[in-house]
């Protein structure tokens, strides 16, 4: 780091400022402690997720039923395959990063450039994949009905497979329009309306005798409870208040809204880290191409950004486990 340091004239003395008791440069050590504090932030998020999950342990959504999409395979039930692929992409970009660091130790500029290039590409693909996951999660798949108590009722056929609202909802005359700010009160509006209203869903349910309601309460074997036809009708008549399609911070067709909240916050915060990691990688990448580190005689900056990049991968390993597997 001689390029920026100001000499004090006391080098070599114990308190001269060049002491490295941990044998790591100032920058690298501070990157480690930044990572430690960031790790605690993520731990806080994940532990809070655990708290909420334990609180609703008998009604938490089953990840295999929520994340079932794979690009270009519409309608195919592919639980977890896509997240697994994303995990691989991130691990592999970690490998190319550590190869870039290693090439830097040997002052091989061209190798550093190529490995960093592949790392950046991997990071971009990962962020894109996460955006795609989000859009699937937000738009939802089957749709559900929410009860007075904020619980979710989903619909299944006789085989126990989930059924989408659009496949059975009746079409009734309806003159409700989206509430905008110029209608009633200037500060009240809604962002979107569900495609069906509750009356249409209930009517369609009555017309299809083999449909049943599935609640969010889990049975002993970890599956969602399916009500009898009579209980289903009674539940819809007495408790249902509205239709939910997809998920946002307030409503979630898959189960407790907290699941969606934590999904958005944790994967969002992680995605933000990947994004900023890509940006920092690009900056260092440009510096490598310009020969900045060649002239400085050390590729330590690549090592530092590498530490950050591996940390992002490390966090994803935990997010993957606690969101998709456990």
């Amino acid at each position: 780091m001689d390029a920026t340091a100001v000499k004090t004239g006391t080098e070599g003395k114990i308190w001269g400022g060049d002491n490295e008791p941990l044998k790591a440069s100032y920058g690298k050590m501070m990157m480690w402690f930044f990572i430690l504090s960031d790790a605690l932030t993520f731990s806080g998020f994940l532990a809070a997720y655990g708290f909420s999950r334990f609180k609703f342990v008998n009604q938490w959504p089953i990840a295999d039923e929520v994340f079932t999409h794979f690009p270009f395979l519409h309608g195919v039930d592919a639980p977890m395959y896509y997240v697994a692929l994303m995990t691989f992409i991130l691990i592999f970009s970690s490998v190319t990063m550590v190869l870039a660091v290693d090439a830097g130790h040997h002052m091989k500029k061209n190798k550093v450039i190529w490995y960093m290039f592949f790392t950046i590409i991997g990071g971009v693909i990962f962020v894109g994949s996460q955006a795609w996951e989000w859009s699937n999660f937000i738009s939802g798949e089957f749709g559900a009905v929410e009860t007075k108590g904020g619980k979710i009722l989903q619909f299944v056929n006789a085989e126990g497979e989930q059924v989408a609202l659009e496949s059975f909802a009746a079409s009734l005359p309806n003159d409700r329009t989206r509430l905008t700010r110029n209608e009633a009160l200037w500060y009240e509006s809604e962002s979107s309306m569900p495609d069906y209203d509750l009356a249409e869903v209930v009517e369609g349910f009555k017309a299809n005798p083999d449909l049943l309601v599935r609640t969010q309460i889990l049975t002993e074997s970890g599956e969602k409870t399916i009500l009898s036809r009579e209980a289903s009708l009674a539940k819809l008549e007495n408790d249902a208040v509205g239709v939910v399609q997809g998920a946002n911070l307030v409503h979630n067709e898959y189960g407790p809204p907290l699941f969606a909240d934590f999904f958005f916050f944790i994967t969002g915060f992680h995605g933000f880290h990947v994004f900023s990691g890509v940006i920092i990688n690009i900056i260092i990448f440009i510096n490598v191409i310009l020969g900045t580190y060649e002239r400085r005689g050390s590729y330590e900056m690549v090592e530092k950004v590498g530490l950050y990049w591996h940390f992002v991968d490390l966090v994803w390993v935990f997010v993957f486990t606690f969101f998709y597997l456990v």
Binding site: K23, A39, L40, A47, L325, V326
Partner: protein, 119 residues
């Protein structure tokens, strides 16, 4: 630079070995997650089924390799290693203990109380 890399060949060999380990562990996790073997789901240990413990152990195993091999923690001095790793582990253990206990208590309140939450 704090650590001295040995010759180029062995460093890259180590990287690819670790990549192989991480890949295999991830594949095993995904397979277990899709198959969900009966005996692992039905056996319980400390209020969680065994499968979850398997996932957690495998995750920590992966985390170890990422930190030690990819982040070169194995080449850092003992002091730096302990300052970073132990601080994290102590605080995380505390957080997990306190929050999960509390979450479990609130579940009991919801579940065994005289108020119905399912309406």
């Amino acid at each position: 630079m704090a650590h001295e890399t040995s010759n180029h060949g062995s460093a890259t060999k180590r990287i690819w070995t670790v990549f192989a380990i991480l890949s295999v562990v991830t594949i095993v996790e995904v397979i277990l997650g899709i198959v969900r073997p009966e005996f692992l789901v039905e056996t319980h240990l400390f209020r969680m089924h065994l499968l979850n413990w398997v996932f957690i152990v495998l995750t920590l195993y992966k985390a170890y390799y990422i930190t030690w091999a990819f982040m070169h923690m194995e080449h850092e001095t003992k002091g730096l290693r302990r300052a970073v790793v132990w601080t994290g582990i102590f605080l995380v253990c505390y957080l997990i203990f306190i929050l999960l206990t509390e979450g479990d208590y609130i579940f009991d309140v919801y579940h065994d109380g005289y108020i119905s939450w399912d309406f």
